[in-house]
């Protein structure tokens, strides 16, 4: 029988010697060019990190290629970032340029540092999950192709964190991203009364609904859904397989803006609804790509230096965000859930546009 509970490999065995020597004693850093970080330790030693983009969904061969590069330039040391980029870790300054050259020749985008758009945190989509309202890897690839330039340069007012989740479970950082792409269903689950009794726990299913749209039908050991109260979140499907709600004609994507995670300057905050619905249009989701690009560009040309997307919008006001981006404001933008009234404008302090 296999050993259990051995835990992950000890990270200390994975650290390049320059890190081991200067662990916890870093003094400052610089970003001499997009994708290259130089950290200087108290000791004066320097660590060069070269950041390359990744599709995240990678084959073992691709990983082996990365390993080969790391062995060639980095004594076999590398890491991944919390946003799924690859970081090659070098002690030797002289190897940086050749590494960059090889990465370029092999088609690795180098960047994602400083005031850039880094990799898109995303999820499974049609590749592996059972509840997606859209694909994940596809829209991300289509989008990154289009905004590639923002990855490899640092010309934005501040960094822009984009995330995608394929359903309301939001496996990813969607609820607190500068720009978030969120798959949504728009039709109510179809209850399969023959299966519910055998595969679902009725009380759990009833309890799963945020709006109380589900009622238990004890006689028939099934449930009924009040269509009027259902907003297609899919949580009932998560607990009850006999209530599927995917609908090719009506599933699609919503766009959210202005969230952030860091405590820099302003407090962390949630993303807010910008566009309630865009159609699923595989393979390249042109409507989604255009919409995100438009928001980025309006932000790029209007925000002040160091302002995150949300900070910019808070300063100029949401009226202005909608008028500048040309995105229509609808009743769907107005919160009607739980804490709704908190978001209503309870003052006369608004702008005309």
């Amino acid at each position: 029988m296999a050993k259990t509970d051995i835990g992950p490999p000890d990270y200390k065995t994975m650290l390049p010697p320059v890190i081991a020597r200067n662990y916890g004693k870093w003094r400052y850093h610089e970003i001499p060019q997009p994708g290259v970080l130089v950290h200087t330790a108290d000791s004066g030693e320097k660590l060069y990190s070269v950041r390359a983009g990744s599709p995240r969904l990678v084959s073992t061969d691709h990983i082996r290629e990365i390993c080969a590069i790391a062995e060639k330039y980095c004594d076999g040391y590398l890491r991944f970032t919390s946003r799924h980029n690859i970081e090659f870790l070098l002690a030797d300054k002289d190897k940086v340029a050749p590494l960059l050259a090889e990465l370029e020749s092999k088609g690795y985008p180098v960047g994602g540092t400083g005031h850039a758009i880094s990799n898109v945190v995303h999820t499974q989509g049609w590749v592996h999950c059972h509840t997606p309202a859209t694909d994940a890897s596809g829209p991300v690839k289509a989008l990154m192709d289009e905004i590639y330039d923002y990855f490899t340069t640092m010309k934005l007012p501040n960094h822009v964190r984009i995330a995608l989740a394929c359903c309301l479970n939001m496996c990813g950082a969607v609820h607190c991203s500068d720009i978030a792409i969120l798959g949504i269903h728009r039709t109510v689950p179809k209850v399969d009364n023959t299966r519910v009794p055998n595969v679902c726990e009725i009380p759990s299913t009833v309890a799963s609904c945020p709006t109380g749209a589900i009622r238990g039908d004890m006689k028939n050991k099934t449930v009924t859904v009040n269509d009027e109260k259902c907003m297609y979140c899919g949580n009932c499907y998560t607990v009850c397989p006999a209530m599927p709600l995917a609908d090719p004609d009506n599933d699609g994507i919503s766009i959210w803006v202005g969230g952030k995670v860091s405590n820099a300057r302003s407090a962390p905050s949630f993303s807010k609804l910008a566009i309630p619905f865009l159609p699923n249009n595989p393979p390249r989701w042109p409507e989604v790509v255009d919409a995100v690009k438009n928001i980025i560009e309006v932000y790029a040309s209007h925000a002040r230096k160091h302002e995150r997307v949300g900070e910019w919008i808070e300063r100029v006001g949401w009226e202005r965000f909608f008028s500048l981006t040309g995105i229509p404001f609808t009743d769907k933008h107005i919160d009607d859930f739980d804490m709704a009234t908190e978001s209503f404008h309870s003052s006369t302090l608004f702008k005309w546009s």
């Binding site: 055998n198 595969v199 726990e201 607990v239």
Partner: protein, 106 residues
Amino acid sequence: MPIIELAGKTYEVDEDGFLQELDKWSEEFAQAYASAEDIEGQLTEEHWKLINYLRNYYQQFGIAPMIRKICKDCGVDMKKLYELFPTGPAKGACKLAGLAKPTGCV
């Protein structure tokens, strides 16, 4: 849906081997099915205590009990639980007890 044969009877189960017609459950089903969940030989009294507990709870409340509750009510700890059902309470115990496949735990 796959059909399995156990002790001479056939049962409809899902891909994970969970019973699809819960009323077909019987003690023979549980015993015959045990080896598939890495339990060797006869189900012991301790196994039955847990299986019966799970069934009663499910019948009464319509849901599977939370693990902590199982441990408390049956006087077992986690270690014991995994000793009895090496594939775990959700996969092993619930399956043999003929409960709907748990969804609360993925």
